[in-house]
């Protein structure tokens, strides 16, 4: 029982941090700030999925987290490459 409540709390915490990260994303003066914020948001999504697994006790979502962990870094790298190419 304690775990459900803990998971619920962490879900709420994570939602709040999502909003905060989004704030940076909107405010972010330069593009890399936005990309950093997006990176954080993806990590938060991963966290939320984990918390949700704990909440429902169904661990089938871990496959999704594997994909999430692997692929989001690809997005960030693509953004980075675009920024470098634009500079040249």
């Amino acid at each position: 029982m304690i775990i459900e409540r803990a998971a619920y709390i962490s879900m709420v915490i994570m939602t709040i941090s999502l909003f905060i990260a989004f704030l940076r994303l909107v405010k972010g003066p330069s593009t890399p700030d936005r990309i950093v914020a997006l990176d954080l948001i993806t990590m938060l999504t991963l966290g939320m999925i984990l918390a949700y697994c704990m909440l429902t006790g169904q661990f089938v979502y871990l496959n999704t987290t594997i994909i999430l962990a692997l692929i989001t870094f690809l997005g960030t790298v693509a953004y980075a490459r675009y920024l470098e190419k634009r500079v040249l």
Binding site: I13, S17, R24, V36, M43, F73, T76, Y79
Partner: protein, 124 residues
Amino acid sequence: MIEWFVAILLVSGAIFMLLAAVGVLRFPDLFSRMHATTKASSFGAGLMLLSVILHVQELFIILEAMIVLIFIFLTAPVASHMIGRAAYFLQVPLWKGTIIDELHDRYNLHNHTLASESPDSATD
């Protein structure tokens, strides 16, 4: 007893995530913000994964959680490194309070090549 420990791990993971978010918001310039996103968030995710590992009995699930953990610690640094590089090339303004910029003289602004890459420079 173990349940308490798992719950604490989980919530602390979430709190670290929160710290990362706050860090990203409040840090003065890009490079310090990157500290927050990469280190704090991956550590937070690590803690949560740990709580999952402890909470779960089946082997496969633990294995999958371990893989996620490894991947996070494998990919997050590469991603933020790439962003840092790109940001530096874009001359994103440093925090006025920065004391030393070691990369300054090794990177020539005109042809955007790092000293380390150019063939002639001694690889120090």
